[in-house]
């Protein structure tokens, strides 16, 4: 049975369409499943004005079979074969004659009971129940109200089309009642059409300049681009984000090729491509890695007979490029250093002062960090980079194209003749802006980027900003992930909590929350970001927990520890060790720390354990220090037999206090060593579900 739904709206942002389509698909399938409606096919399509579900569904719900179990067969009949009171009572309670009871076989034997078959209801009845809540349950990054209603959606809903088996299905959502018609392209063919089938819907809409399938629109864009560029023997500068955006933005893509005067090619490619992309959403055209004075635009229509669209866009672009050229020369009239005097006039964060303040802090943080990551030789340059890093916020270029922050400063620094380590530091210090983005290529950029992000995080936490659920107004998560990504990519090996301490020192009195609280919040916050990163990389959650709950003082090492656990998780030694650790952990719970006195060991097995432990410790500590956690782990495995003997033959909780404390002290020392690799108690062993 064919089913078609179209939610027709005013233009939704592409990001909204994308989330709506994935929600629609998931929720619709879920609803059908929970209501026993089989679906042979469900397809989801969308444009900026339409959310579409097409389905081939069973005409009815599956029948629901129900068995109601009564008394056991053995007691249901009297000796003479007539029904016993138990059977009669049951039949009565169910409102059936006693002779209608059937024998039902169960695991526990034979019972009397009744089998009920609930006939499945027609799917269209089910649909009219589930669709209103399905549509109104969609959530968007930002919702709005319109007219006099309190209904919320991405943009106003203008029409609902719903056809089941060629007939309209009626229901209402947000003040709109569904019918069997829709509309064509907003400008090219805004007429109303009646719809019976999905095929007819697709074909008619296509004639009315609407292509409903997003993949098809994307292919249309790509093939038209190819055709337009064939004569130029050039290619379109790949921009996946822009392509995807545009494939939702238009209902019928038409590609136009335009040009701009060649003198603008003197602008850096970063500026040119941003000027093209932002505002008019144009693609750059390149040939052998060089930008050509052409662009490609995607219009929502099917033709540009008088070249009005092309010419209009060229005019707007020319004005934009003229501005950019003006900014490029104007900004360079006074040097970055001269401009930096005004950094005090722009707010970084209300309670944390200006960008001048931030710059001063970053200078101190990078100097510290350069020492810690063995980058002393670039210390001077990275401090210079820090000094210049935020100056581009004062340039007209960044005011016009905010997404170019950092890059513009770097380009100006390069023009001023600063050496590569300095200008690259500035250029790259916002990277990575996402987990998919690259970390800075330069060492100076990496150090500066960490300092910048950490300054923002510690500062925000220090004045009481907390990230919860969807609330992250300062983008702290993104910043923290950026810091982690750089540390992991660059294999930076340093004490993270001491770095946090340094940042807090640099802030001084501006941090208003108690210092330990800020530090602990930050550590936990970063542990959570690391968890997210490791989970994305596919590591087992319990291994991640084991590593993170043993602390993240050295972020790079935390990664090595996850890797070590992962590589040894299938070793036969792994599970016994975890059991031992859990046992140790349990014994030590709530015990204050004690000291080992080797003279107090009395039993053979405890002396032996102590000796083994000392040898293992001497071997393992250097390995831990240099980050070879797999080897450390392998050596730790060797404690197994000694510790097993200890538990078998020695009573830890001895009556004599001194002896007891000494044994506990030994176990504490072992625990302390092991936990430098992982908190093994967090690891889940098959059949056991001790922790999560």
């Amino acid at each position: 049975m064919e089913f078609l739904l179209e939610v027709f709206t005013e233009e939704m942002p592409p990001s909204h369409v994308k989330t709506a389509l994935s929600q629609l698909g998931e929720k619709f399938k879920e609803e059908l499943l929970s209501r026993n409606v089989d679906a042979k096919k469900i397809e989801i399509y969308g444009t900026c004005r339409r959310l579409i579900i097409f389905g081939d569904l069973a005409p009815e719900q599956k029948d629901r079979k129900e068995e109601i179990i009564g008394p056991p067969k053995a007691v249901a009949f009297q000796d003479d074969g007539t029904p016993a009171p138990a059977a009669k009572g049951f039949a009565k309670s169910q409102g059936v004659e006693v002779n209608k009871l059937e024998v039902i076989k169960t695991d526990k034997g034979e019972y009397l009971g009744i089998k009920k078959i609930e006939k499945g209801r027609p799917t269209q009845n089910i649909l009219s129940e589930i669709l209103p809540s399905l549509i109104s349950s969609l959530s968007f990054p930002k919702m709005m109200r319109w007219g006099s209603s309190s209904f919320r959606f991405s943009r106003p809903i203008k029409n609902l089309l719903c056809v089941v088996n060629e007939k309209p299905l009626s229901f209402s959502v947000g003040g709109v009642t569904a019918g069997n018609f829709t509309y064509g392209h907003k400008l090219q063919c805004p007429k109303k059409i009646k719809v019976k089938t999905f095929h007819e819907y697709k074909v008619t809409l296509r004639k009315m300049r609407v292509v409903v399938n997003q993949e098809e629109r994307r292919r249309m864009i790509l093939s038209q681009i190819e055709r337009k560029l064939a004569s130029l023997n050039a290619r379109c500068y790949p921009d996946e984000e822009l392509l995807e955006r545009l494939s939702y933005d238009v209902e019928y893509p038409y590609i136009f090729l335009g040009s701009f005067p060649e003198d603008y090619l003197n602008l850096p490619i970063e500026v040119l491509s941003t000027a093209l992309r932002e505002g008019q959403r144009l693609f750059s055209v390149v040939k052998e890695k060089k930008q050509l004075p052409f662009f490609l635009g995607v219009a929502d229509g099917y033709r540009d007979v008088k070249s009005l669209i092309q010419k209009g866009n060229e005019r707007v672009l020319k004005a934009r490029l003229e501005d950019a050229k003006f900014f490029w020369t104007q900004d360079q009239k006074s040097g970055l250093r001269n401009k930096s005097k005004n950094l005090g006039k722009i707010v970084f964060q209300e309670k944390l002062g200006s960008y001048e303040d931030k710059t001063q802090r970053m200078k101190k943080i990078v100097a510290y960090l350069a020492d810690k990551v063995d980058a002393q030789k670039i210390k001077k340059q990275v401090v210079q980079g820090a000094e210049l890093s935020k100056v581009d916020l004062l340039t007209d270029m960044v005011r016009e194209f905010p997404s170019l922050q950092g890059k513009v400063g770097g380009l100006y620094a390069r023009e001023e003749g600063h050496p590569a380590p300095v200008w690259k530091a500035v250029y790259e210090h916002y990277q990575p802006v996402s987990m998919e983005d690259e970390s800075p290529s330069s060492l100076t950029g990496s150090v500066l980027s960490i300092a910048d992000k950490l300054d923002s995080i510690v500062g925000a936490v220090g004045v009481g900003v907390h990230v919860t659920g969807s609330k992250d107004p300062f983008g702290l998560r993104r910043n923290a992930q950026g810091v982690c990504k750089i540390i992991l990519d660059k294999k930076f090996n340093f004490s993270f909590s001491r770095l946090l301490g340094k940042v807090m020192d640099v802030y001084g009195a501006k941090i208003r929350e108690p210092e330990t609280q800020v530090k602990n919040y930050c550590l936990e916050f970063f542990a959570n970001r690391l968890r997210y990163i490791y989970e994305k990389q596919g590591y087992r959650y319990d291994l991640i927990n084991a590593v993170l709950s043993a602390g993240i003082d050295n972020i790079y090492y935390s990664f090595l520890r996850v890797k070590a656990l992962d590589s040894l998780k299938d070793s036969p030694n792994f599970e016994p060790l975890i059991l031992i650790f859990k046992r140790v952990n349990n014994i030590l719970r709530d015990q204050p720390p004690f000291r080992i006195n080797s003279g107090l060991f009395v039993e053979k097995d405890e002396r032996e354990l102590y000796t083994t432990f000392c040898i293992i410790k001497d071997n393992v500590l250097p390995l831990i220090k240099k980050g070879d956690f797999s080897q450390a782990q392998r050596i730790i495995f060797r404690i197994k037999s000694s510790i097993n003997n200890f538990f078998d033959n020695v009573l830890v909780m001895a009556n004599e206090t001194r002896i007891r404390r000494n044994r506990l002290a030994l176990l504490q020392a072992i625990y302390k060593l092991l936990v430098q690799v992982a908190d093994y108690s967090q690891i889940v062993i098959e059949g056991q579900n001790l922790s999560k």
């Binding site: 709005m144 006099s148 943009r155 707010v347």
Partner: protein, 282 residues
């Protein structure tokens, strides 16, 4: 079509749609949204339809008459309709057709662009309307003003008259536009741009601006306490303009900026709340 014809066309179009034709407000404002014909009228529950030209001042945008696109004063054509009608997008497109634009030959796009004005505690959801890549209108469904949820929801259309006219005349320089058949934008506005840029950037007296800000702020609070909300709001508009001038003089420090915006917002929120309470009880 000259600018004045463009204005007359829009006036005719929107009065035909049932709008009351307001006259420009007689104080300096940064946008048509800030005038009482929008600010107060969106707060209450009554239907409202209004259209007007509003000269809008943004002192920092001044370029001494030397930039072909940027001016410290421009003209907005503002339309407010409450509740937002279901067919408002088509009506808007018709308004472009009524200006002689053959929309089928162009690329008309509604591009996500949400609007926000922190100093009057207002925000909305909508688009910038792009005509062949040129932004000609801001199209917004108001959600909040003065920190108050608006219900019914008003729709606001703000045409940038100079932008639209540049499209209609196919010109690249704002000063080449025809205001009428024999008066150009240059004739009317060039000297004003030049002199006001000098005033905004160099001559406006910082001390008296700061003092005026304080005086008007104090007066606004006194008027609010006396329930004289419309005069109080005027004082806020003045504060806002003094703030903009101080900003273009580069005379506002980090902490002052935040504080001054918050001060205006606090006053405006009080006015909005009192206004709504008064409307509800009447």
């Amino acid at each position: 079509m000259s600018i004045q014809n463009l204005i007359m066309n829009l006036q005719k179009f929107w009065t035909d749609q049932g709008c009351y034709l307001a006259q420009p407000y007689d104080l300096e404002v940064g946008a048509g949204t800030m005038t009482p014909d929008t600010f107060f009228r969106v707060l209450d529950k009554r239907p409202w339809k209004v259209a007007y030209v509003q000269p809008s001042r943004r002192p920092t945008d001044g370029r001494y008459g030397e930039n072909p696109h940027r001016v410290q004063k421009h003209f907005q054509y503002q339309v407010i309709i409450k509740p937002s009608p279901p067919d408002i997008q088509q009506v808007y497109i018709k308004s472009l057709v009524s200006l002689g634009i053959n929309v089928q030959e162009h690329d008309l796009r509604f591009d996500e662009d949400d609007w926000e004005s922190p100093s009057i505690g207002a925000w909305g959801v909508g688009w910038q309307v792009l005509l062949d890549g040129l932004e000609i209108t801001q199209f917004t469904y108001f959600q909040q003003a003065g920190g108050i949820d608006l219900s019914p929801v008003p729709v606001e259309l703000t045409y940038g008259l100079e932008r639209l006219e540049m499209f209609l005349e196919g010109k690249d320089d704002i000063y080449d536009l025809d205001w009428s058949h024999d008066v150009s934008y240059q004739d009317l506005r060039y000297l004003e741009e030049k002199e006001f840029s000098e005033y905004n950037f160099s001559q406006a007296d910082i001390r008296s601006l700061k003092e005026s800000f304080r005086l008007n702020e104090r007066e606004a609070q006194q008027l609010i306490d006396k329930d004289l909300l419309l005069p109080a709001y005027d004082m806020c508009l003045k504060c806002s303009h003094f703030f903009n001038l101080l900003d273009s003089r580069g005379a506002i420090s980090v902490t002052e900026r935040v504080k001054m915006i918050a001060e205006i917002r606090t006053l405006v929120s009080q006015i909005a709340q009192k206004y709504v309470a008064r409307e509800d009880s009447s």
